[in-house]
């Protein structure tokens, strides 16, 4: 149902994932609720959900904060992603029907032209997430998929930034990950997925470390 709390939830979720709040910024409830056209009650309900998901931080008596990303947290989230996706592709290789795999291959073929150098980084990240969530869907395990989706939301922002530099290779990588799935080669599928995520992780860490070093440049 489209309750006000749900609408507010969607909006604030986007805002948090897109880092429209400044890192560690305290979020003013009255102000934000006015901006979103609701009262504080549904806003707080939405923010409680987001805090449980890890997209916002919460401190009793002081309210809600933007959850800042630091290099360590990014490493941890990528490790989580790797654990979840390695098993997702393992299960997908085992369970997906031939028909599902054929559809997937068609999909991969169809979106290829959208991976161009001129595409903005954010769109590439969207396409990349789409690929990975489709794999997660083929695992047939919605709980696994939800966790992966959640983990993506938490690292989306850093991916936007780190994606700027390496657009073209993504689609090729996806194609080579999918090949062993079709061949029902579980071991290779898992291995390639892990490598893919590890590589992406290294780039993301670099991005965050760069941002950190810029942050701490003395100003005077």
């Amino acid at each position: 149902m489209n309750t006000s709390a749900n609408l507010v939830y969607e909006q604030v979720r986007e805002m948090a994932a897109n880092f429209e709040f400044k890192p560690a910024e305290r979020i003013n409830e009255s102000e934000l609720s006015k901006k979103l056209g609701a009262s504080r009650t549904p806003l707080r309900e939405a923010m409680n959900r987001l805090a449980a998901e890890g997209l916002l931080a919460f401190e009793g008596g002081r309210g809600f904060f933007c959850q800042p990303l630091n290099p360590q947290l990014v490493v941890h989230l990528y490790e989580l992603r790797e654990a979840l996706e390695a098993d997702a592709i393992r299960l997908a290789t085992e369970r997906a029907s031939d028909e599902e795999l054929a559809h997937f291959q068609q999909y991969l073929h169809d979106i290829a032209p959208r991976y161009t150098d001129s595409a903005p980084a954010r769109e590439i990240v969207t396409l990349d997430e789409e690929f990975h969530l489709k794999i997660a869907n083929l695992s047939g395990n919605p709980e696994l998929k939800n966790m992966i989706e959640l983990t993506y939301a938490r690292i989306r922002y850093v991916r936007w930034i780190s994606m700027r530099e390496k657009i073209d290779i993504t689609h090729a990588a996806h194609e080579s990950i999918f090949k062993p799935v079709i061949a029902r080669d579980q071991g290779l599928a898992v291995e390639l997925m892990r490598k893919h995520i590890k590589k992406s992780n290294n780039e993301a860490i670099e991005t965050v470390e760069k941002a950190f070093s810029q942050l701490y440049v003395p100003r005077h």
Copy 2:
């Protein structure tokens, strides 16, 4: 801080994990809030967090419900658990210091006497969770640990029931899982952990299926 919403959260979390609500039961907010000595506002905030964690279900316009366990969901949660714990022990084997491992071995030795046939199933489950969460801690990844902890809360109830029949073997299994960790044998540690969880999964599924068959016995 010990805000009322936090206290209510802890209490309702326990109630949900312990299935003190009947499966798929609609939870009456006024009634429950009165019982817990708070108003509906903090109760709803707590339940929003629990719904985000998957411990309660939510339906817009109709409120919060007990999230019922069915055989399929149990399978999915155990798969999630396997994915997370396999990587947790992989990371733990890699990262834990020799000192941490020595402490862990001491801990395993110390709690051995508490695994007796006379111990109630719930205590064995508690000890078992403790073991697995300690491993998760050794991974050095708090995000991974949180997800594991959450997954445990969601399957705790079915484990209480299925544990009744096979108490004695748990501690021995833990010891054999930990051996390759000390030997820094990553492959074997992961393999044993996966097998351990799979076995536990089979028992849990059996429990839920038994419960389901009893539920649907015609009454007249």
